[in-house]
Structures are given as C-alpha cells and as structure tokens.
Symmetry: C2
C-alpha cells in the first residue's frame, strides 16, 4: 500500500472554496493509487483569533486550557476537508490527536512529539483511503491536549511521514524554495532540490515555506519533503539529504536581506573576557537579540561591534549608559543598515566564495560596516541602498 503524507497550511484551507480545492487535490492522489494521510492547519487566521479570545478572558491564560481552545481550530478544518472529500465519493475520515494518539511532552503550547501509535494509524489506513489529521497538536500520556508551537503542523506532517516511512508533501501559498524573496529579485531561481542543511539556514533566514523543526526531524529520519503551492500545479522543491548525483551542487542556495539594523561599536574596552560577557549578558536579560558580533583585540584594548534591530536601539542605549560608565568607555551607534546574507552548504567544498562575495562588494564600491561568516554562510552589513543593488549582482554571480 503506497502511502503519502500531504500537509495543507492555513491559507490553503482559509474558506470553503479553498477547502473544496484541497479535497480535489487529495482525491486526485487517491485516484493515482495512494492512501493519503492529510495533515491540515486551522483555517486562515483562526489560531490568532482563538488566542485573542482566550486573552479577552485572561491576560495570561492557563496554558493547559489555552491548548484546549487552540486545538479546536484544526479539528474544524480537518472535519470540513473530510466532509468535502466525502462529497467527492472518497472514503475519508478526520481524526484529532486523541484518535490518532500523537503522544507529546507535557510542555503546553510548545510540546514536542514523543511518539505516534503507528498500529492505530495503519488500522485506519486499512479502512479509509484518506485520514485527515489535525496538525499542530498532540496529547500527553494522561490525556491532556497539547500544541506544538509555531510551525507545528509542518512538524506533525513530517513526524507522521517518518513514522509511516513515506514521503511528505507540504502545500502552502508559496510554490517552492527560492534563492531569495521574489519581492527582492523577481527573476530569482526556484530550486528543484535543496539539502536539509540549506533548508535549515533558509528557514532560519525567514523562508516561510517550511518550519525548521520539521526540517530537523526530516533530516534525522531521512524523510523526503516536497514543498509546493496548493493553488497551482507548478513544480515545487524537494528537500533531501543529498542532491541527486546528476545535479551539480550549487555553491550558494539562498540570499536574504534583514533591514533596519543598527551597528553598535564599543571601543577601548579592557582586555577582560568578563567585561565582554557581562555586557552581552545584560543585553540578553532585556530580551534583545544581538546579531553579527565582531570582536577585535588591538594591543591593550578590545573593540566590539554588533548589530541590533533599530526598534530596540533605545533599550540598548539605556543599558550601555548604565554598564559602560563603570569601565569608563565610549560607544557609538551607526545606521540604519541592511544585513545581506548568502547561504549554501556548497561553500564547504567550494573555495573562494568569501573572496568572490567581497570582490563583488568592492566592484560595486560598497564598503561593508561588518562582516561575519560561518561554515555555510556569509553576512555583510551595508547601506540600504547598496543592499538592494547587490541582490541582483549576487544572484547573477552565483546563478541564483
């Protein structure tokens, strides 16, 4: 029996017309000979609305009870998809986390899947052609509902595919994995294949097509994921462990921009690791995210630069005023800037990516404020205007 998992996101089931469209797509797969395990998110903005409703009753709703509220969103959308499938003559049934027995940790609103009863799933698959399963949710051992946090439905889908040993199709309103946001560069390239590692970086960089947690599970259990749009029949993107051999591995797979970045430079700090760690500890305590930390030791003194999002600049200023007065050192803010990042697992085996990237900046007359690199990623902080100009050049240079 050929089984496939198909996940449909909230925008794919936002109203009854779209629900019927999803049902037709599932029915097509059944006619191709598959048993379909369909994982469905809550309709449109339902989850947000349910959260607001709970918050209208309490500023800080009990999390066990909040989960009890939230899980109803997927139960409704799943049952509606099953209703639409029944109308198409498909033998379908919707199942919630109780019926599917998706066991999770007790960590309400942010639980992790512990186990899925696959015997139970298989017995449903014997009796039905389609089982429509509520994404984003599970139950604890003592039968309380839990939810899996943001991106939870992707996680449910990939976990089910891992358990059933089958592929996982993720349908959303995005037609695949692109090298950069098409809004930045309309001619951007859609990949036919990307590796789990590249996908993890791309997801962290804000590619909305697939949640990182789901990719991690896919990588761990080697589940092949296919990302495509539920609105068109355009070819999507496969997310896999290794690219097919006939395919030359691209050096760079993605490019992204983060706008509204401020650079903070603290000069002439004493050469004392405790001082540096003290500063960053205080920033973290204020829940301010720091990015692109760059540290240079220069003889007797240490110079540190880092970026923060401009919204948080006032918070950081206040904090530095308090902290740095002790050490008698100065800081300055620069910006706004834009962070431009290129990512690709291909960098590991391909020399000179950094130099090609820097050369490109130089040829455009752009002097980066900060540069940080990791094994598979290079980021540069540049002016907003140059960033947008660079996107096209980089896409051309690296064939994105």
């Amino acid at each position: 029996m050929a089984v496939i998992v198909q996940k449909y996101g909230g925008s794919s089931v936002a109203d009854s017309v779209r629900i019927k469209n999803v049902a037709r797509r599932i029915a097509r797969k059944v006619k191709e000979g598959f048993k379909v395990v369909s994982v469905v998110s809550a309709m449109g903005k339902t989850t947000d609305q349910l959260i607001s409703l709970a918050k209208s009753v309490s500023v800080n709703p009990n999390e066990r009870e909040l989960d009890m509220v939230l899980v109803t969103g997927e139960q409704v959308s799943c049952a509606l998809v099953a209703i639409a499938l029944r109308d198409l003559g498909i033998n379908a049934i919707s199942l919630n986390a109780f019926q599917t027995k998706i066991l999770t940790t007790r960590n309400h609103t942010n639980a992790r899947i512990v186990d899925i009863n696959s015997e139970n799933l298989k017995s449903y698959l014997k009796n039905y052609d389609v089982i429509v399963i509520t994404g984003f949710q599970g139950i604890t051992e003592d039968e309380h509902f839990t939810t899996l946090g943001r991106g939870g439905s992707d996680t449910s889908a990939v976990a089910l595919a891992a358990k059933l040993g089958c592929d996982c199709e993720i349908y959303s309103d995005v037609s695949g994995v692109f090298s950069c946001d098409p809004k930045l560069y309309p001619k951007t390239r859609k990949w036919k294949y990307v590796t789990y590692d590249d996908m993890l970086e791309l997801a962290a960089m804000g590619a909305r097509v697939l949640h990182s947690r789901a990719v991690e599970i896919a990588k761990k259990y080697n589940v092949k994921i296919y990302c495509a749009s539920s609105f068109t029949d355009e070819e999507g993107t496969w997310v896999v462990e290794r690219l097919p051999e006939w395919l030359e591995e691209p050096v760079v797979t993605g490019i992204s921009l983060d706008e509204n970045q401020m650079k903070v430079s603290i000069t002439n700090l004493p050469n004392d690791a405790n001082v540096i760690s003290d500063i960053f500890k205080r920033v973290a305590e204020k829940e301010i995210n720091v990015d692109m930390i760059s540290l240079v030791k220069n003889g007797e003194a240490t110079h540190v630069s880092f970026t923060v999002i401009s919204d948080r600049a006032n918070g950081v200023k206040e904090l530095l005023d308090q902290t740095l007065s002790v050490y008698g050192v100065k800081y300055r803010f620069y910006g706004r800037f834009t962070k431009i990042t290129v990512v690709g697992t291909g960098m590991r085996s391909s020399y000179g990516v950094a130099s090609r990237f820097l050369e490109l900046l130089a040829s455009e007359g752009v002097e980066p404020e900060l540069i940080t690199t990791s094994e598979i990623k290079i980021s540069a902080l540049v002016s907003e205007e140059s960033a947008h100009r660079l996107v096209e050049k980089i896409c051309n240079e690296f064939e994105l």
Copy 2:
C-alpha cells in the same frame, strides 16, 4: 464531598464578560464548600455558525464529520470558563467527551447517552474543585465524537447529576418556570416547585427553560433540578418528583398560546377507519404536524377536524385535493385561530377543571372551534383576539 452539577446555557457564556460572570458564580459555589461539575454550552450562536460553515462545504455534510465540527463549540467555551476560574484562583480543569468518557450510541447528531465513567469523574473531582465539562457531546465505543441533538447540554447535565447522585442547577437567561410566557401576561406566576410531569408538558408547550429529554432522565433517576437565571440572583424553580407536602398542589401550572392555527374540517367521510388513517398517513409523509384531532361519528358518516400551522396550509390543501377526490368528500379551511392550552398534573385529582375552563369561555362569550383534552391538559381553539383576552381571565381563575 458535596458535589453539585451546574449547567450554563449558550447565552450565559456568549462573550468574555459573561464567561467571567459565570466563573464568579461557580467560584461562589466552591467557597460554599461544593465540588462543582459545570456543564457549559457553546458560546451564543456558535453551534448555528458551525452548522452553516459545514453546509457551506456540503449541502448534506457527513454526520460523523459534522459532529466533529460541532463539538469544538463546547470545547472552546469550557476551556474559557476554566481559564476565567484559574484567574480567580480556583483549581479548575476543562474536559471534553474523550476525557470525561461520556459514552453514547452511534447515532450521530442525535445520539443518546449510554454510560458515563463515574470512577473517572470522581478521580478528577478528587484533584480539582471544578471540572468544566463540554455539554451536548459524547463519544462512541470506537472513539468517534457524537452530539446529543437540541437541548443536549441539559441532557448532559442531568445525566452527570444522575451518575453522581447530586442535584442539578440549570442556568439560562430565563429566571425559572412560569405559568405562562410573561410577554402574554406580565403578572404571571413563577413557580417555586413544579413536578417532572408538569415540566414535561410545559417544555413540550415551548417553555425554553429546560429540555424535555433532560426532564425525562431527571424523572427516571429522581434528580432534583433547579432552574434559574445566570444574570440575576432571583430565586428560581425546583423541578421535582413530588411537591413538598406543605405546598398545596396547584390545579393548573401552565398556560400557553399557539398562534397561526388553521382548522381543517372534513365532513361526511365514510365510516371506515382505513380512510381516516390513510389521510393522516399522507399528511405525515409530507412531514406536516397535525394537532388537535377531533373525530365525530354521526350515523352513516364521520366528521374529522384538525389543526395545522398556517404556513403548511397550502401543502395540506394540495394533498387533500388529491386524496379526498377518491372518496368524493369535501373539506374546508377555517382560521386563523389561536390554540389556548392549560396544563397541570393537579387536574388528575381535581374535578371540574374542564367545566371551570368552559364556563370561563362562555362567560367571555367565546365559542371554541375545537376542544381537545388529555389527563392533565385542556386545549381550546379560539379566535386570536379572544385568546389574548382569555389569558388574563384564566390566570386569575387558576391563580397563575
């Protein structure tokens, strides 16, 4: 451990302000020393909205899946009540039909409760001061959600009280059981006590305060019910097997009007029971409700009169035209009229209620078109104008 069941209807939990109000009422009961089993309906018009949603996907939604959609309404309202209770420092938990293990028949959208796992309930009651249970729903033995049909939450509440051997308080937007609709006669009497039998008649007559199925279960398991408003602290009504001994049993407990009634008279039918049954069978097949049937055999012929609601008059006309032509008999429609009904188990032991009722009609110069009686009920079909005039007279005569 003193336990009480409190049921709150949809209008009592229609928004977050009302939900917090319900939580305060439950908390008060906890402070009086009770463990509270609270049964909550879906918020306001939620059930109707969910039905519309399902019907926007399919004209005739699969009933198993429709139940899966509908049960979410109570799950949300229960969790919100639990959230509000937690905010008041009350140790509360919400439970759906899976968690409560309310077992029903497989008859989706109109299931009957088969059993409730009371060990499970008692163990929750050991650990929590309040358990908030989804009314209107259950699960089948093989773990599908079911719903109990209209008035289902009342049924859930009384069944839980029966299982736990405690009293059941039913809160709605009506402050108790009245002898007639206060809109008809503002000075109408609210009863302190009514019997199950009277309540069954009153519910059938449209008293919205309590559903008949719930009263039947209460009667069977002798569950004392208290009906009151969730919006005021006004004293409500006890529904019991027998009135307290110190209370003189009222002869008449209720009066109601049904407007827009048409009288159909068929004269000179042959004296043949098959003919009569044939006519009513055809009417029933068209799903037309017939009321106040009166039959008189007069020598060689039979005369039949009955009432139908005026909306259905055209359907009945069409049908009689087809049917009666076979027998060559005539029919006539009269109306519109209003049916006035008085009800009371006290009639059983009190002679002359019918004569007092008829005397009253005569003294007002009202000639009834039809009269039907049962052991505990008398109905007369009169003109609309006389009906409204009679309400006050009857209320005075029978001290309603």
